[in-house]
Symmetry: C2
Subunit: 363 residues, 2 copies
């Protein structure tokens, strides 16, 4: 086990084997005698790397040829703007589910750009569940939701995703914090975007999966870099892509398929990790998980201690024990353990052990 157990909400832990491979290949990427950072993006080793990465992502998401997978920059925050800019005009109706702070940020961006934003479902202000009652807005250009809400610790379950309506507005989703963490039906979505620094890479590249027929809906004029068509046409190599960040995703795909054994195996591990922490919380009179049972995130376990002073001590003592990243979001408070793909079950056991000891000493 590594000396540090890393529960940061992102950027966050990467597998030790992936870091070691980066180290090993630093001076010689695939026999070129150069670092992957030193090779022209028009040269075969980098072109191949991009194709392998988009291909691998498509395969792991189970998407067919009606989809394009793109590697972009700017994080999900730029997608918050690109989505309304590409798929709607000023004054047009767009529909959003308000399930947490990031879902809200996406919505605010559409509003800033002059779109007529309709909130079709909301769990505001406390956001302690995925909202259940949905309004129908059939004339919306798209319906946007965020599958996992890192700050409040809620997540659309696979069953909730299966139950999403077909035939209405095309559904677009921010999956920044749970893409490739479990098996879901990605075909429910016309557009999926995710930055990579949670479960399958480092910060610096953003994945977009896009159903090809939607490209016809994009209106001119669009700035070239903000137009999804540019990147489809250039196969994610329009201008110099963030090669190193793509390389890390490529290694993470190898790790996921090779070492872990694929998405289903990953989901089993992720379920076990989350169960370990939530069971401990539910079995205690000391820790308290605010999120309703059916809406709890497998990725981010948010919990409170009896008071903020104890929470501060909990975070500080954990850090002294080499367990880092347990502070809640600066806008939300409380504590949070993020359990993304690269966090091992052994590390979660370690956290559980610490949580037990902390109750014994302070409960």
């Amino acid at each position: 086990m590594r000396p540090i157990r890393n529960f940061y909400a992102g950027p966050c832990a990467l597998p030790l084997s992936v870091l070691r491979r980066i180290q090993d290949e630093m001076l010689d990427f695939r026999g070129t005698g150069m670092s992957v950072m030193e090779i022209s993006h028009r040269a075969a080793p980098v072109v191949d790397l991009i194709e392998e990465t988009t291909g691998g992502l498509k395969r792991l998401m189970g998407l067919g040829d009606e989809y394009e997978v793109l590697l972009l920059q700017g994080g999900s925050s730029l997608q918050f703007a690109m989505m309304p800019m590409n798929f709607s005009g000023p004054g047009e109706i767009v529909a959003y589910v308000d399930s947490g702070l990031w879902a809200k940020k996406a919505m605010e961006e559409a509003r800033l750009l002059g779109r007529d934003v309709r909130v079709v479902a909301s769990s505001a202000p406390d956001h302690r569940r995925i909202p259940a009652d949905w309004e129908t807005v059939s004339d919306a250009r798209y319906l946007h939701l965020c599958t996992n809400n890192t700050i409040v610790g809620t997540q659309f379950s696979s069953a909730m995703i299966d139950a999403l309506p077909r035939g209405g507005p095309v559904i677009m989703a921010d999956m920044s914090s749970d893409l490739l963490s479990r098996r879901i039906d990605h075909g429910k979505f016309g557009l999926i975007y995710a930055h990579t620094q949670k479960s399958f890479g480092a910060a610096g590249v953003t994945i977009v999966a896009l159903r090809r027929d939607l490209l016809d809906r994009i209106r001119d004029p669009m700035a070239a870099m903000l137009d999804y068509r540019t990147h489809v046409k250039a196969r994610s190599n329009y201008n110099t892509p963030p090669v190193f960040a793509i390389y890390v995703v490529r290694l993470m795909l190898d790790w996921l398929e090779g070492e872990i054994g694929g998405i289903e195996a990953m989901e089993r591990i992720n379920r076990a990790k989350a169960a370990r922490i939530y069971d401990l919380i539910d079995g205690s009179n000391f820790y308290h998980a605010p999120v309703e049972a059916g809406s709890r995130s497998m990725m981010n376990a948010v919990f409170y201690l009896p008071n903020p002073d104890l929470e501060k001590r909990f975070v500080a003592e954990a850090e002294q024990a080499g367990i880092v990243g347990l502070g809640g979001h600066r806008k939300w408070g409380g504590c949070r353990a993020s359990l993304y793909n690269a966090v091992t079950l052994a590390e979660v056991e370690d956290l559980a052990g610490f949580m037990g000891e902390f109750v014994a000493a302070n409960g």
Copy 2:
């Protein structure tokens, strides 16, 4: 010397000492016990890294407190759009110097966005010099130029930059391929942008230096991620920044100041490298440099051989000898040796040796 001598036009060579340091620190960034990629962007080690990097860039550019230095994403291609979007409205006049293919791309983006683009100077269609005769367009929102034209191999000399007019429209410059390669008066410019994968980093982060008073000219509404004010306010940490790419820039600044000895020392080395190649070309009846003497780029030496077949053989035989990246741009042809900061004089000597042998065998 490394087995490969890398003359790629970008991404391109990085110093061996920087790659080794990345290797050494991969599992433990500054005593955290984690990789720099694994640490939250809100945690002190990453916040410090960002501040050190923007501070170092400002110092090396010799910019005062009236400037902000930002670390963004999307490359210069996104700056081609952000510049007109932030500093002009549709139909308004913006002025551009047409000195090469990238300068043209910047201009086309402004035109696509509905700006009234005025070409104040042009060396089209052959682009073999920096244009000398400039029209005055005093009512333009800004005047844009590209200091080094990688494809055609021209560069604004330091004297040309000193001679740029003051008092007219604010001057904005793409310095993607020569920032930090020589000492120039950066205070001539209101906005400077540069991606980092040529002379001071890897691909994935874009440097913007911006004179603070220009922030007041930005009009609402702007998408948050495309608005320079967002990134000034958030100190380049609005959403998760490309931490690893920033880290590489940070190491490159150390290398530049520590190992090389600063910008003036760097410029001396760069001048010596360029002189070695241009002198060889000018002294031969075999190689031919198309660019006029006063406009030649110190960064990209473009040259032709007597015919395209020989050029193909030259590039292929060089590659077999471990000298890579000598092919001209796919839109321009010929040959090109890119001599960015990390290329050593010894490597340039090696290239010169090969060029001499090639003439002996084929001249």
